[in-house]
Symmetry: C2
Amino acid sequence: MPADFLIEHADVVATCAGPAPRRGRAQRDIGAVRDGAIAARDGRILFVGPHEALAARVSVAPGAVRVDARGCTVVPGFVDAHTHLVYAGDRLDELQQRLAGATYAEIAAAGGGIGRTVAATRAASEDDLVRAARARLDEMAASGTTTCEVKSGYGLATEVELRQLRAIRRLDAEHPIDLVPTFLGAHDVPAEYRSRPDDYVALVIDEMIPRVAAAALAEWCDVFCEVGAFTPAQATAVLRAGARAGLKPRIHADELASSGGARVAAEVGARSADHLIFVDEPAADALARAGVCAVLLPTAALYLKLGRYAPARMLIDREVPVALGTDVNPGAGLSSSMAFAITLACFAMDMTLEEALIAATLNAAWSLDRAATVGSLEVGKLMDAVLMEGDLTSLIRVGSSPIRTVIKRGRLVVGG
Amino acid sequence: MPADFLIEHADVVATCAGPAPRRGRAQRDIGAVRDGAIAARDGRILFVGPHEALAARVSVAPGAVRVDARGCTVVPGFVDAHTHLVYAGDRLDELQQRLAGATYAEIAAAGGGIGRTVAATRAASEDDLVRAARARLDEMAASGTTTCEVKSGYGLATEVELRQLRAIRRLDAEHPIDLVPTFLGAHDVPAEYRSRPDDYVALVIDEMIPRVAAAALAEWCDVFCEVGAFTPAQATAVLRAGARAGLKPRIHADELASSGGARVAAEVGARSADHLIFVDEPAADALARAGVCAVLLPTAALYLKLGRYAPARMLIDREVPVALGTDVNPGAGLSSSMAFAITLACFAMDMTLEEALIAATLNAAWSLDRAATVGSLEVGKLMDAVLMEGDLTSLIRVGSSPIRTVIKRGRLVVGG
């Protein structure tokens, strides 16, 4: 079968190939190939290896696209394991107030905060939601992301949650980036249920989850387990109900305090526990034993000015697989750049560059149950790759993007 | 005098106009003008104000360039108050080792560290230095920097220091960015003087400073005052000798420990004390009394993984004017983006966005004795500006540059 797409003479191809998830010392193994080449057909990889072995292994179809990668490093397309990409309105004015010293409580009291996004999203049509998110997806693609998770959670009412999820489905169909849909009805207790949160949990379990599952609009069920949001007992009930309906569990855990979220993740067998800024060692051991992936979002920790970051070294040392996401959202999720998440992973969470790359590709793919098709450059997987000028360290030079070409399913999304 | 260059209908022009340096509460005053316009001729500003007042105040020359700034915010061109832009070689391999856990001592023992840059710079010709730095300057211009300080300090031998400074002079002449030259012969004690550092200080004072001053190759004299580099007494001697020769003092102070650098700055009347990660309150008061500008380099603190940042709030509260720089350098100065310095100023040093903008423009200009010509959008100053899509918060969305147009002396350096 002749190749219709080739990357030739890359200084280095960081394949990230091998079993997933990668944990402990193995998270450093990026499978670097010098003077590397990749060949693909119909968006699937046929060959990855040293350029000198290419000719003997694959023939080239007439009209094939050949990318000259001299002077470049090639990595798998980034997988963003945690976003809130679909919403209406923005809250940049609040951001400026927050930087000027206003507290979240003051902003919320003035009609701001997540409630404002919920109101705007409820008022938006599906078309509005698609249009607003499309521009954000284009930006993500330009930053090298080729697969991303997207959550609902700004409707907090059945029809609006479904509308958000339908918008995600449309965006997945029309945009080169592949979207992985997550139902997050339990993102916050909406104002009208503030005095009776258990009734809202019942609505999520008895009405939303069945409707979402019946329409096959989500693959995952997520819940924000935190003081002020949902308790461990409520989170457990939601995730178990989701699992019974076929929605696999993941969870927002221990973001603002040690709230028990990581333990819930281990108990229900969630695929991922996200944020984990306040996770402790016993909880980390529970995650490792249960095979839960830690999805860390250092950009969120920075933009929220939490003054600390998830203990990535401790998690890796205790054999928890670590993945990365951007946490794009209308409040403080300002950056959709996985390269920036990698930069903070290295310099604020003390990860090695190799660990951070695995976290942004193979482990992120595994956290979304996509490791069979994306997350590494291996024969049979999708031809999703990022070509950057220079070596891997060019990724962490904030302010000047080294990304020259982004390839999704064998097509040039950026460059070319 | 008709205008030959106009910016019209900007959503907001943040003029940053007013007296310099800005300190305390006044550092928040960015002089925002809604629906703003700017007119210039021959690279100098003729008018800044509301668009509706433009027509009555200036006529327009035939062939004038008109930039439509609808949907955009206009700020003064950024002034980068601290860089080590001119050097040979890079040390990206060491960076990767450092991220993988190697200590600076291990890297230095293997022939790495600053000594490696000194060796490469000594081996480089003036042309080599100019060529390498030119690419970095282009990147800075694309990030909105229109004026930057550049230090010598990788020669640590008279002829090589002079060569670095000549390279800076050539770059200033040939590149749109204006460069402000600083002599930093006392950057480190070179290997050949390791056992007799006072002899090196004598060389700096008795030979280098007179040669630099005689050739008018630098405007400033800087010294790295730190344990392991130069003592407060040595730093004082160097800066006083520089001042006698007409080189104005600035200083690397309290970067890695409370080393007395800020006190030296106050005593010798330095224009700036840079880094200041470990400055304490009494030293801050001394800086305020002496009128020393704090040049903070949060990117360096991140990339060096110091785990802390300069106490910007304390400095501002104690009426020390605060400026920003990138600290571009071959070791850990990976980012030349002033927008990233502003981002960390906001989210890691707790500055407001307005304070950070003043720090990156007017106060940085003042720290370089350039506030009469750059750093704000005011009649008579240079037409140096950055046009970004969206509002000011777009500056702190790392990963996606909002900068659409960069103007230096009335010419389009980026965009157009």
